[in-house]
C-alpha cells in the first residue's frame, strides 16, 4: 500500500529538513515543472488526477485553478494561499503533514503558484500550531537559500515569494473568504460570492486558497502522473486520504490510507476497535460539522460520494467516535456551544439561532426540557440550513444536530421525561 504523503515522515517527531527531503526525491517535481511544463500543462495534469480539495468541501482542485485569469491580460499580482488554519473540532490531519514534512507542502505550493502564475504566497497557520510554525519558518528559509523560492526560481523566469502568517484564533478563518479578510487585517467575516476569490480575492487580486493536504498531493501527482494517483484509491475519488479516529477507541490516531476504506475498517482495523467496556453509538465522519453515521454504516466507503449517499459528508476525514456511555445530547451541546461561540455574527440566522440552539440543549441536559423543544431544534435545522445563511458555518452546525435527533431521538425524549440527563 503506497503512502506518498506520509512515507518520509520520521518517527522521532523531528521534521524532514531540506537535505533529507531532497534525498527522498523532494523538489524533483518542481524541477520537472520549471524545466519542461507550461502552467496550462500543470493545471491539466492536476485536473486529470481528479484531486478533490481535502479541506472538507471536496471541490475539484484542477477546476478551481482553471477559474484564475491567465495570460498577458491577467492581473500582474496573484496569490496562492495554503489554508493551514486547522480548527475543525476533531481534526488533526494537517498537523501531521505540517510538522512532519513541511517541504512537501512548500513544494506543492510553489508548483500550484506556478500553475496559476501567482507571485506571492502565504501559509495561513493557526497560532496554536507552534511546532508547525517553527519548522515551516525554518523550511522557508532553507527553500530560499536553495533557490526554490525568491527571484528567478532555478534559473527560470518564474519568481515567487512565500510568507508564513499566523492567525490569532478564530474558527471562521478557515472559511476561504473570511481567511482573506483576516489576511487583510480585518475581522474574519465571509465575503459575498460572486466574485469568487479565483477572480477577486486577496486585495482584490486573483487568489487560490487550498488546504494543506490538497497541496501536499500536488508534487506526487506531477512526479507519477494522474493515472497513478487515481490508482491509489479504492473508490471513485482518487488518491490517498489522511484519515483519523478519536474518542474511546484502543488506538486513536491518523493514517494515510487509500481513499475509500470503510468506516468499519477505520474503527476496527486501524483504531483497534472500541475500548473495553464501550460500544460504538455513532460517529461524525469528518469533523464537527458532519452528520452522524451509526453502526448501520460500517460498510460505507469513506470517500466524498459514498459518505454523501449515506447522508453525511466526508469533511476532513477525521472521525469522532461517540461511545454508548457518552450522552448524545451533551455531545451535541458541546458542538453547538462551539459553533455559537465561533459564529462571526455577520448574518442574523447564525448569530441569533446558534445560541438559541445551545440554550435549548443545555436546558435539556439540566432538566428544563419541554416537549416542544425537539420540534424547536428541528425547526432550527431548517432555518439555519443551506441557503439561509451567508456561509457554511451554521448549515454545518445543523448537520450533527439534525442527525442526532434522527438517530438518537429516544435520548432526547428521555431527557425531557426524566427531567435531566440519564447518563449522569
Amino acid at each position: 500500500m503506497e503512502r506518498p504523503l506520509t512515507k518520509d515522515i520520521k518517527s522521532d517527531g523531528s521534521y524532514l529538513n531540506i537535505k533529507e527531503y531532497e534525498k527522498a526525491g523532494g523538489y524533483a517535481a518542481l524541477r520537472k515543472v520549471i524545466k519542461g511544463m507550461s502552467p496550462a500543462e500543470v493545471q491539466e495534469t492536476v485536473r486529470a488526477s481528479k484531486l478533490k480539495g481535502r479541506g472538507g468541501a471536496g471541490f475539484s482542485t484542477g477546476m478551481k485553478w482553471s477559474f484564475v485569469p491567465m495570460g498577458e491580460d491577467a492581473p500582474k499580482t496573484k496569490y496562492l494561499i495554503c489554508n493551514a488554519d486547522e480548527m475543525e473540532p476533531g481534526t488533526f490531519k494537517d498537523r501531521v503533514l505540517l510538522e512532519g514534512n513541511p517541504h512537501q507542502l512548500i513544494e506543492g505550493m510553489i508548483i500550484a503558484s506556478y500553475a496559476i502564475q501567482a507571485n506571492i504566497s502565504y501559509v495561513f497557520l493557526r497560532w496554536a500550531y507552534r511546532e508547525a510554525a517553527r519548522v515551516i519558518q525554518k523550511s522557508l528559509n532553507e527553500a530560499y537559500e536553495a533557490g526554490y523560492l525568491g527571484e528567478k526560481i532555478l534559473g527560470s523566469g518564474f519568481s515567487l515569494h512565500m510568507h508564513l502568517h499566523t492567525g490569532v484564533g478564530r474558527y471562521m478563518c478557515g472559511e476561504e473568504t473570511a481567511l482573506l479578510n483576516a489576511l487583510e487585517g480585518k475581522r474574519a467575516t465571509p465575503r459575498a460570492k460572486p466574485p469568487f476569490p479565483q477572480v477577486s480575492g486577496l486585495y482584490g487580486k486573483p487568489t487560490i486558497v487550498n488546504n494543506v493536504e490538497t497541496l501536499c498531493c500536488v508534487p506526487h501527482i506531477i512526479n507519477n502522473g494522474p493515472q497513478w494517483f487515481i490508482g491509489l484509491s479504492k473508490s471513485e475519488d482518487s488518491g490517498t486520504k489522511i484519515y483519523g479516529v478519536s474518542g474511546k477507541v484502543n488506538r486513536p490516531g491518523a493514517w494515510e490510507l487509500p481513499m475509500g476504506v470503510t468506516m468499519g475498517e477505520l474503527i476496527e482495523e486501524y483504531a483497534g476497535g472500541m475500548k473495553n467496556g464501550y460500544k460504538l453509538k455513532g460517529a461524525l465522519p469528518g469533523g464537527a460539522s458532519t452528520d452522524f453515521l451509526t453502526t448501520e454504516h460500517m460498510n460505507v466507503k469513506m470517500d466524498f460520494n459514498s459518505v454523501a449517499a449515506a447522508g453525511s459528508r466526508l469533511g476532513t476525514g477525521t472521525m469522532i467516535v461517540m461511545d454508548d456511555a457518552t450522552c448524545p445530547v451533551g455531545f451535541v451541546h458541546n458542538l453547538q456551544h462551539f459553533f455559537a461561540q465561533e459564529s462571526c455574527g455577520w448574518c442574523t440566522p447564525c448569530r441569533e439561532g446558534l445560541p438559541w440552539v445551545e440554550k435549548i440543549l443545555l436546558s435539556l441536559e439540566n432538566g428544563g426540557g419541554k416537549e416542544e423543544d425537539i420540534g424547536l431544534l428541528e425547526m432550527h435545522g431548517q432555518l439555519l440550513g443551506p441557503g439561509n445563511t451567508f456561509c457554511a458555518l451554521a448549515p454545518g452546525a445543523m448537520e450533527p444536530l439534525q442527525s442526532a435527533i434522527k438517530y438518537f431521538k429516544d435520548d432526547f425524549v428521555e431527557h425531557i421525561k426524566k427531567r435531566g440527563c440519564p447518563y449522569n
Partner: protein, 154 residues
Amino acid sequence: MLTQSEIKEIDHEIGLVPYKKAALIESLKIVQKHRGWISNESVTEIADYLELSPAEVDSVATFYNLIFRKPVGKHMILLCDSVSCYVMGYQKIYRALNEKLKIKFGETTTDKRFTLLPNVCLGCCDRAPALMVDEDLYRDVTIEQLDQILEKYV
C-alpha cells in the same frame, strides 16, 4: 506612546502589505507581545499610527480569541474544550485546575501567575485531553500530571 521597538516591528509589517490598515492584526500582536494585553490606550495608539479610528481597531481586537482586551497573567493556560476532549473528559481536568488555581475560565490567579481560558480544538484529538501553557503543548493530560506541569511556570 508606541515604543521605538514596537514602531520598528510595526513598520516592518506595514512594508509587507499594500496599505497600512492591512497591518492591523500584526500590530495588535506586536503590541500585545510587548505589553501582555491590549488596553484602551493601546487601541488608540495603534489607531493613530495606522490612521484608523479607535472603533475600527477595537472591532478587530475584540474579534479574535487570542487578542486580550483585559490584563492577563504571566502564563496562559489554554484548555481544549472541543468535542474529542469532551468525550475524553476534559471536564475533569477543568475541575482539577479550578481547585488548584481557584480560577474559572476567563479568570486570572490572585498572584497574576496564570490565566485560564477555554480553547477550541487544539488538533490533538487522538491524544485528548490536551492543553497548552504558553507555547508548550501537553497531550494525554491526566489530573495527576497537573502539578508537575504547572510548577514549570513560575
